[in-house]
Amino acid sequence: MHEFALAQGILEDAVEQAESHGAGRITKIEIGVGQLSMVSIEQLRFALDSLKEDTMANDAEIVIEEMPVEISCEKGHGSKVKLDEPLFLSLQKIICPSCGEKAEVTGGRQCYIKNITIEEERECM
């Protein structure tokens, strides 16, 4: 349960970026959460909705996308795949989509802000 701390970090980053671009308010925050991160998307959304109230993002639409798992096979092909639930089973049979060889997880644990959409100060008036 570290979604509130992450949400706090996301909002601080978003507001800092928005202010540096002369924004009056943030209308949308787009976030990517890796499928292998332990972040619960629903809890993150709840945390962002609760914390955004007193910020310039108070009306912002929150869009959170689950990002695929990055894999690499023995032949060195890298690709991105969505794993089926339960993960315990799908993690045992990760196959490279290019060559069909067994592949290993190389990424998919991120939690990051992709984009923010802002309105500049004069647009808000």
Partner: protein, 216 residues
């Protein structure tokens, strides 16, 4: 209205400090072991047991707990340097808390540093501490489907220790299944079965840690 591309990971700050910790451990020739596991899996007891098997090495510990200094006080009885870290509301240690704790340790007099994480099989996975080894202890009393239920922590661990094997029969758990499950999702994971009460398997675990320290 316009869109600003940010592409910044909110966990990046933690990752950067973790890398700094890792470089520091390497520089000081310390083997740091991030000891993860559920509440009651035997993390503190394992450090106590290992301390008897690793004499000749200078041990130290960072004991993470949400509140209280019970674990830290237990470990202090081993006569090793111990720093207790209270995470407050957080369910895991992070690299920043570890970095702060390091400042309170006699860093030039440590060979192996045990970092006992907060009892939790979920959140610590997201927070690299910079330790060279990530070890997860799971006790049979948690149920032999625990690895299945929490695959991620085992996917990203260097070793799994299935603990309390002496009571496996009483709690109707199959320790072999737990080891197999961990291997199924992580072909590289080192596996150990231990009973601290009966002093079984601790030697093997301790000697692996000693080997890993030799590798540097």
């Amino acid at each position: 209205m316009h869109v600003i591309g940010i592409e910044r990971d909110v966990l990046e700050v933690n990752k950067k400090i973790a890398e700094r910790n890792k470089a520091y451990f390497r520089d000081k020739k310390i083997l740091a072991v991030n000891l993860m596991g559920a509440i009651g899996s035997g993390k503190t007891a394992m450090i106590e047991a290992l301390s008897k098997k690793m004499q000749g090495l200078r041990l130290a510990a960072i004991a993470g707990d949400v509140v209280s200094d019970l674990d830290a006080n237990r470990l202090k009885k081993l006569n090793i340097p111990v720093v207790g870290v209270n995470t407050g509301k957080e369910c895991h240690l992070d690299a920043h808390l570890v970095e702060h704790a390091l400042a309170k340790l006699p860093i030039d007099d440590i060979d192996v540093l045990f970092i006992e994480n907060v009892g939790n099989l979920i959140c610590p996975v997201d927070f690299d501490l910079g330790a060279q080894l990530n070890v997860t202890i799971v006790s049979v009393s948690e149920g032999d489907d625990t690895v299945e239920k929490h695959p991620m922590i085992f996917l990203f661990s260097d070793a799994v220790v299935v603990n309390k094997t002496d009571i496996a029969e009483a709690v109707e758990a199959d320790p072999e299944k737990m080891i197999d499950d961990a291997r199924k999702i992580n072909g590289k994971i080192k596996t150990f079965m231990t009973s601290i009460k009966k002093d079984e398997g601790i030697d093997a675990f301790a000697s692996w840690l000693k080997d890993e320290r030799q590798k540097g």
